[in-house]
Amino acid sequence: MRGVGFVGLMALLGAGCQAVPVMQQRLVSKPNMVFSDSPVFSYQSQVLPQIEPGSAMSGGAQAAGCTACQ
């Protein structure tokens, strides 16, 4: 678990320490380049987590695993 924490911390720190000027963000601002909850622009299925207990990232009993097993 420490390894995961270290990797995560490094990813966060390395994620971006310098702002990219807005005038250079034309391509990364296109609708399909943005991370969005909109169903039109979201690429994740809302139904498949019913089958894949380890795929949901949004909490709740379903995301936490099976809802009926011990």
Partner: protein
């Protein structure tokens, strides 16, 4: 069922949005009771409404799952709110090698309502509050297990299985900080979930039941970054603390790359672990190509693997064995000035690991299957 939901999904938002359009027109013309307000002034108030709807289906011979979602939201200056309604349906055929079990067909649905409010506290800091409530089984697997237990528990030599009313609610809060102008965003999210579920059971002269109520706390930390003029990334960490279980840790990395004016590649990888032995990962990618000003086509593929959840020591564990799943599909999207439509479709394959269980009563639930996954979504702002 899917086509009925599809019809509802298309008609309802159009009718609703027309209704809201009329209301919005009045408000825009006279937002503060002042006749003849300048349209430019109205626009500067950042006054916008959004309607979104989505229908998704997952089908195989004996299981049909569908979900319809509708959301209406409104933004005015620094305040935003939205409410959503989600309706799930499950149609399943139950079979089991249990000699006392008679095959049956079951149907159930679930309704979820959810609301969000977002307030921009400072120029670069916003707060969000989330609340939701649902009534019904969270998934088709819970329905399968519940109906199996109900039938077996009703045998004369067993003590029965209680009447269950699965439901739950969630409360959450989130802070979003734009720590680099338009380039770096940090999100911290906390959520509390309470779920009344169909408990596992062992039938003897007295029925032994598992947990009936589950409390979960989730903590999420995410960083979204524009790394350069062509790459945007999202790194997410999640920790879930569920009553009676070890903590679950997850990390998900998403990267979007603009190859040029008309090509976009999206990658995603995720890894999850929960002691004593559950581990899962997934990798996937989407290639999207713009055809002219309004149309986009996409091709996507995804692989998922987990080690399974059989962890109890009972001879008839209802947890799933290890799973490999594969998804591929094609999508098409139309983007208008204020409306967008998306359609995706493709096969989905689930392959469960073979296990040696003393009493494999649930082996049909966890049988490898070939599915069809279809999604239709529509959004409109005005």
């Amino acid at each position: 069922m899917f086509f009925r939901l599809g019809l509802i999904g298309v008609v309802v938002p159009l009718v609703t949005s027309l209704g809201f359009s009329a209301e919005m027109t009045e408000s825009t013309v006279d937002p503060q009771g002042v006749e003849g307000s300048d349209p430019e002034e109205s626009r500067s108030r950042n006054f916008e409404s959004l309607v979104q709807t989505r229908v998704e289906g997952l089908f195989t011979d004996d299981f049909q799952i569908s979900q319809w979602g509708f959301q209406y939201g409104h933004r005015y200056d620094r305040f935003r709110w939205d409410v959503g309604l989600t309706y799930d349906t499950y149609e399943i055929d139950l079979r089991s090698p249990d000699p006392f079990f008679e095959p049956q067909s079951s149907h159930a649905d679930r309704i979820l309502v959810q609301g969000n409010v977002t307030q921009q506290i400072q120029e670069r800091l916003s707060w969000q509050g989330i609340a939701g409530y649902y009534d019904g089984f969270q998934n088709f697997r819970s329905l399968w297990i519940h109906d199996y237990y109900q039938q077996i528990g009703s045998l004369p030599f067993f003590d029965g299985y209680p009447e269950i009313a699965p439901r739950g609610y969630q409360l959450g809060t989130q802070l979003r900080w734009e720590y680099l102008p338009a380039s770096g965003f940090l999100e911290a999210t906390f959520g509390y979930y309470k779920d009344w579920i169909a408990p596992s059971a062992e039938f003897e002269r007295v029925t032994l039941l598992g947990l009936r109520v589950i409390d979960s706390l989730t903590y999420r930390l995410a960083s979204e970054n524009v790394l350069n003029p062509r790459i945007r990334s999202l790194t997410e960490f999640l920790m879930t603390d569920t009553a009676g279980r070890e903590k679950r840790y997850g990390i998900q990395q998403s990267v979007n790359v603009a190859l040029g004016e008309s090509w976009v590649l999206r990658f995603q990888g995720a890894w999850v672990r929960e002691d004593p032995g559950f581990e899962a990962y997934s990798v996937g990618g989407t290639a999207e190509h713009e055809l002219g000003d309004a149309w986009l086509v996409s091709l996507f593929a995804r692989f998922y693997h987990d080690t399974g959840e059989i962890q109890n020591s009972l001879p008839s564990s209802n947890g799933p064995p290890g799973l490999d799943s594969y998804q591929i599909g094609l999508g098409v999207r139309w983007m208008g000035e204020r409306s967008n439509v998306k359609l995706t479709a493709g096969p989905y394959f689930t392959r469960y690991e073979e296990t040696e269980i003393e009493a494999p009563f649930f082996e049909d639930l966890y049988r490898s299957r070939n599915w069809l996954n279809v999604q239709i979504a529509y959004s409109m702002s005005f």
